[in-house]
Assembly symmetry: C3
Homo-oligomer: 330 residues x 3
């Protein structure tokens, strides 16, 4: 679904256009979001609102005579949640150099933990429903520290890091690094390895951070068995463990049904005793999102890049959401 | 003048590209604005300044196998008025689904009242001069409540509404709805109907709003008689009535001359007695923009999407503006 | 490397597409910046950081039947310096009308002084290294008043001015004007003339401003002698004189090496005595950037629009920077 803008001369002569181009792609998705955390009397928001996103992505590239490829990307993304629409703004840029199986990115990097297979749902939104429903399905999201790892930011500037990715055969290795300004360096280092053999993919990732609560280790195993997909994932999130089980199946030629269940442990008592519980709303043996989350998602392919998407999930904090709508890419 | 970016494969193979694309279009307009409300000694702005706008619009679309079309739109628009230039920012996105004569939009909707034929001027700017000159020509703009109906916002996020439009033969019907966050629902509902028979189009629209001064009813009749165009419009704006008469004629093969006159009533005495006059700068039998507005506009087609545009208008608040410049679309 | 989006019909019929189009182009550049002014203990920034920019430029145009061309431009540019990444935002728009050798621009104008040949370095960044290293190499940048002339702004809205440019044969003449809002007019007027004969180009420019420290006169002479380039430039910056000598040479088929030296005088004693020294950090016979700056830059062309760029410069305020990275256009 990618678009390519050919150099002028390409259409009127035979000169190569591989050297440099701009590709424009993206997607739109919109639908209704029922969220029982919303209530006009409480937070001024109706229980049912429009949720939507329009993403327009620009991918630029150039290739040297020796076959080294340079590329860069940014996005402009308009989003509406809880009846609060936003105008699109460009995010931070990611720059890359690649040659054969090697790639180096700088800027708004992907991040090693973020890039690990077997962590996001096998849906178009990578979560439940139309907007992902807060991604309780991800084993790295625990307590009040969601997405506390280096990851490509679609709406912000990202972490301004650097990363190295190498792929060969079924193997991918990934190392990422970022640092924050300040009198004392606060760094994040991520490493990830994944291997696909036949229908199965195993993966593991680790982030080591100078900031509290950000050290984490994740492992996953996923099988893509034709009509069925099965997956297990586990993460130790700096003392809070979370595991998940996931399954999906094709129904007929156009439908897919997905279910998941995750279970999150209390904060490790040792961490609390060590005085590390301050900035979490927790006590020993408890945390805000402790317990089970589950969800179900249905997708129907309409052809031409469009599909119907609907999903329900109950989060471990007892929040219920149901979303249904459409998704189309271009 | 629309541009379409074809999918890569379309140029090198025979695969269909109807499924999904991105179109880029827009316009630029710039010229001089004489405005007697400006005065360096009073507001620090010269009486004559540059007025300009550059609009770049992105239209994305996809079509399902069954012929249902999905689309989305946003714009980035840079504008300068009163010698205060602004950088362009994307506005809120509008999403649509259409099938044969039916269309549903969500997000930054058009709005039923906004979409009514016979309300804006028959010029490229839809008003007088280069930037519309505040659109005193529109019968829905009265007193200090201009554009107080649901309408597509080019510079903001819009109302995050939903609307249904149906067209068949010469008929168009339109219903729009939006709500604002808050402890109590504040909604706007708009309805519009228009019918074209031969050279004539009649239209009517109504907005019912929970906010003060926003209930309004508009009617118009317009004739496109070859060389000549004539139009009448009337609106009851929650107690303030305004009518307008409009005419334009082609001169030779490239020129068009347009004139208009509108007359706005005082605030209805009953409204003021009922204590509804608080947030208007009015007293019984008076309002800030009461009385007549008139204007004249001249356009000369330069070919290739470009034209010269010039217009003068005197607003009912005695403000004079004269603007002249160029307009080109791409 | 420019891209053109053809009108839809152009690809399926023979209709002319000269009338109106949108071109997309730009560049990416990223690398490492060593700057001895940075220090975690002092300003929280590592001495070595990532410096990067991604520029996406939109050029719109239309042409009348009589051959008058209208055009407009804006850019979205994401930039990271000192480990502080920014999202891209559109800058102010520039509009133009051109016919044969004449051109009129309004809005975010180029500016007569900015457009003078022989003032910026003959490198892809127009300065030293990856991000220009503050452009100490420009003879118009003195003391604490860098870029105090009307110039196209890539990250802001620019000056909202108007300019006239005429080119014929080897001659270019340029007059620019801008004014700021306020009770008293504060204007800038710029004039520039340049002439190329054979391998040599001579140029001069002057800015007259109502703001302090902004009157300036620049002259340059540059020779492009095949393998070698030589250049001299001089400016009187409202009492501070600065001259520069520049040389570059091709090495083999893909490399170029450039060196420069500039020398900046103290503030003129008469200016200080006249009480004009207030808003400069200077005393009679001294200024913050007095003295010599020098630098060296190396470029290696990789083909396909990509190159390696590396440069060192020592500024007259004793700041050292060294930058190395890549640059690619699309």
């Amino acid at each position: 679904m990618k678009k390519v803008l050919f150099a002028t001369t390409a259409l009127i002569a035979t000169a190569s256009v591989a050297a440099a181009d701009v590709r424009i792609s993206g997607y739109g998705r919109f639908g209704l979001d029922y969220n029982d955390a919303n209530d006009r009397a409480v937070n001024g928001v109706s229980k049912t609102t429009i949720t939507s996103r329009l993403r327009l992505q620009f991918d630029m590239s150039a290739e040297t005579d020796a076959g080294v490829a340079f590329d860069a990307r940014f996005r402009a993304q308009a989003e509406s949640r809880d009846n609060t629409p936003g105008g699109a703004a460009f995010n931070g840029a990611r720059f890359g150099v690649s040659y054969q199986g090697f790639r180096v990115n700088v800027g708004n990097i992907i991040g090693a933990v973020e890039n690990m297979p077997g962590t996001y749902l096998e849906t178009r939104t990578a979560g439940i429903g139309i907007d992902g429903a807060s991604f309780y399905s991800h084993v790295g999201n625990v307590n009040n520290e969601f997405f506390n790892w280096d990851a490509y930011s679609s709406a912000g500037t990202g972490v301004n890091g650097v990363e190295f990715i190498y792929s060969t055969g079924g193997f991918t290795g990934h190392v990422s690094y970022s640092t924050r300004n300040g009198a004392v360096a606060s760094d994040r280092i991520g490493v990830m390895g994944a291997y696909t053999f036949g229908d199965w993919t195993i993966a593991a990732a680790h982030q080591s951070s100078d900031a509290m609560w950000e050290d984490k280790t994740l492992v996953s195993v996923a099988g893509d068995l034709g009509q069925f997909g099965v997956r297990l994932a586990y993460a130790d999130n700096d003392g809070i463990s979370k595991w998940g089980i996931y399954g999906n199946m094709d129904i007929g030629s156009a439908s897919n049904l997905l279910v998941f269940y995750t279970d999150e442990s209390a904060v490790d008592a040792a961490d609390v005793l060590a005085g590390r519980g301050d900035n979490r709303d927790n006590v020993a043996g408890s945390n805000a999102n402790e317990g089970g989350s589950y969800g179900i998602h249905y997708s129907y392919d309409l052809g031409g890049g469009a599909s119907l998407e609907a999903g329900y999930r109950r989060a471990s904090n007892d929040n219920d959401t149901f979303q249904a709508g459409v998704y189309f890419s271009f």
